[in-house]
Amino acid sequence: MSHEALLAVATIGVPLLGTALVAVARLLRRTGRTFARLGLAAATLAALLVAWLWAAAPRPLSWQTGWIEVAGIGVGLYVDDLSLLFAVLVTGISLLSLLYSLRYLPHELEERRAGGDEAVYYGSMLLFTGAMLGMVFSGDVIQLYVFWELTGVASFLLIGLHWQDAQARAAAVKTLLITTGSGGLALLVGVLLLGGAAGTYALPEVLARREALQATPVFGVALVLLLLGAAAKSAQFPFHVWLPDAMIAPTPVSAFLHSAALVAAGVYLLARFHPVFAGAPLWGWSVAGVGVASMLVGGILALRAREFKALLAYSTISQYGFIFTLLGYGSPEALAAALFSFWQHGLVKAGLFFAAGIVTYATGLRTFGAAGGLWARLPVAFVMAATLALSLGGVPPLAGFWMKEVFLGATLATHHLALVVLAVLAGALTLTYMLRFLAGAFLHGAAPPRTEPVPATMLVAPGVLAALTVLFGLWPGLAGAALVQPAAAAPTGAVPHLDLAYHLDLRLALSLVALGLGAAAFLTLRRWAALIDAVARPAWSLDRLYTGTAAGVGHAGRRALRVQNGFLLSYLHLTLLGLVGLLAFTGLFLAPVLPVPTLTGGAPLLPRGPLDGGMALLLLLIAVGAVLTFVIRYHLHMILALSVVGYVIGALFALEFALDVGLVQVLVETIVAVIFVIMLALIPPAVRQHLVLGPRQRLTLVMVALSALGGLGSAWLSWLAITHTPADPIAPWFNEHAFALTQARDVVAAILVDFRALDTLGEITVFAIAATGVYTLVRLIRGEAG
């Protein structure tokens, strides 16, 4: 493993280690300041490591080793310019968000008072940073999937930070169900199909077997599944419904996860597999279709949003729609344009969230109409917000203008008139809703009577990002040449052309038309309200589809819970029914088709010579005890009769030289009898009296039939087990090797703790859970839990 590879591992490890340290600090009861310092330190170190990798690491940096070798799954690193583009943005915004959180978070926790916890916040932010880095550096597709899901877990924790707030909990669950539950599962099946078809899960090799993959029949299915995963993660139509709800998370989370990083995971996935899929026609219309739909739906819904952050969320949906559309075009130039847009959008949108957070911090307000007229009170924040909003709106000479330019350029290259029209419309929408954001938050209306002073640390993040958007607007080639073009070149090796200069041509003309349309639409926005509502209504119904489905699943779950009605008799019925059903299925359908060569050839254990007198007596005792248990009515005696059966079986084991088994049987019998007696004492005396002296319960035909079938079936199974011994039994192997391998003279012990130790580990886990369950239940019933 080279030095560079070690440093790449360290880059993933540093934020994850930071999470662990935050957890330790929490256990040591440290205060919020400690968590914040740990968070900043880890994020700074990760950013420095990424910068070092960007400057010095060879491309591609590839390293593989085995993990689950039986399944051919490995772990590894694959770091190229594409990974680094994402890593630079992730660590950069992570650092800015944590810096912003220093003053913002305590304020929000104080204001909301809904169970938020600084340790959970900083721990999850670092976990997310580490997971994102792990994902973009993954050298194995299964590993990529694992880190992908880990980002979802961190997002769940952050959205649900204010866990005492039911809305926050619902939003967290919604995100988890959509991004992880649906999208993540689709991605898992997709990468399994891809890996299966490629014969390896190692990322570089999967990518290298492009031609072979394109010829396999699973190609189309894998493509659709990967797209589903990416669309769910990137909040694309029709999965976009989770993103506006997720805005309940603290603002730095929205700036980091829900504008620049988490949603970027989908873009990374599609860009990474771009060389494999991009040639296919299916790719073109499905990815670009999702993109165009999101572009328009997000743009229109942004015009109706009531809260600042919701508007920004819809705008993210729309802007990622642009990126998906570009990815769908499939050409290397369009890929470069997509990555350029992704990069510029990440910077601008994070900055806009920071600006929205400043408004909320200063005024406590979150919605349009309530706040307003703040430009004079918050002049610095207003300048930053205006720069960023106009940049995203596509106004030259800011970076966002070039986003629209490369988008229009790539769209013109497809020669589809409809796409060009939609592109101009979506560009106009962007300017309209960004103007609405700016006017609603800073210009319209009267300023509230009192605003809190905004601390300097909160102005750093939006200031840096606003400065960057001006810088990349004036010199668009800076980011293009250093980061985006190498990243777009990484898959194929050829550097695609990215046209970042002013030309007097159709592209510029269309850009200006879009700007004019957008500005005109904003000025006449009131006239369009009815039309926007009419268009937006069907889009809302997707949200109701989610709510309805979730409610339906919950309802079905509660119906299923009725099986757990607390009546032992019905549990017994169900258990017996299951047993009889299983036996019938095995005997009638499975036995004829099952190959049973392993069950023949061995010497049967029975008959094994004449029965001696002692043994016969013991067997008779067992029979008597068994019959007595259901003749006796007094429960204490019933328990004793059952115990007789158990002890005699123990004695039988001892006579058969199975001392260990006999010992365990006797011990367990004793302790179970004790527990039985205690349980009996727990039944109220009146009920107990009734059970003994009251009328006997009538046996229904069903009960009798079930019991008889269950008993006969068990007897049949036992008979099969003792008359059929396996042809190649494992027992002799244990007997021969126990002492040689483990130095144990007791073969049972050797099996339990050495040969079959994994089974034992599972069993004691169950035992521990059951015991803890009883403890908790009894405390709950007695009202002691708390």
Partner: protein, 139 residues
């Protein structure tokens, strides 16, 4: 309650604990193992509750927090399972070390023994957790 019963009950606990230790340490050479050791200990302790009644036995045994034993035992068993991984062996592989202890001689320590200690705590502690919880409900 006569002093004799007190004495016998107390002595039984001692014998039960000694027996369980024998089972635990000598499990690989004769009958018994971590599981039976756990149950024997639990039976010895249960007898205290039966003979002295819940409250008095609880007072004597208040140092024992049975409900904490299953997770601790599980952690020890997991640790034992992971021990061979440190030296590059597979999970739960057979592992043993020999140590020379003054006056005692060579002592053989195995991964299996540590695993058995985990089982002992889970089973003994778990059984006592159940009996303690239910017993408290009727006390």
């Amino acid at each position: 309650m006569t002093p004799l019963i007190r004495l016998v009950t107390r002595a039984t606990l001692l014998i039960a604990l000694l027996t369980s230790m024998t089972y635990l340490v000598g499990g690989d050479q004769g009958p018994g193992d971590g599981f039976s050791a756990g149950v024997v200990s639990a039976l010895g302790l249960t007898l205290q509750y039966i003979a002295f009644g819940y409250h008095e036995a609880r007072r004597t045994l208040r140092r024992f927090r049975f409900e904490r034993m299953p997770p601790v035992g599980l952690a020890i068993a997991l640790l034992a399972a992971l021990l061979p991984v440190v030296t590059g062996e597979p999970l739960l592989a057979i592992l043993e070390v020999h140590m020379t202890v003054p006056l005692v001689g060579v002592v053989r320590l195995t991964r299996a023994l540590l695993f058995d200690v985990g089982i002992y705590l889970v089973v003994g502690g778990g059984a006592m957790t159940v009996i303690e919880s239910l017993g408290r409900a009727i006390a």
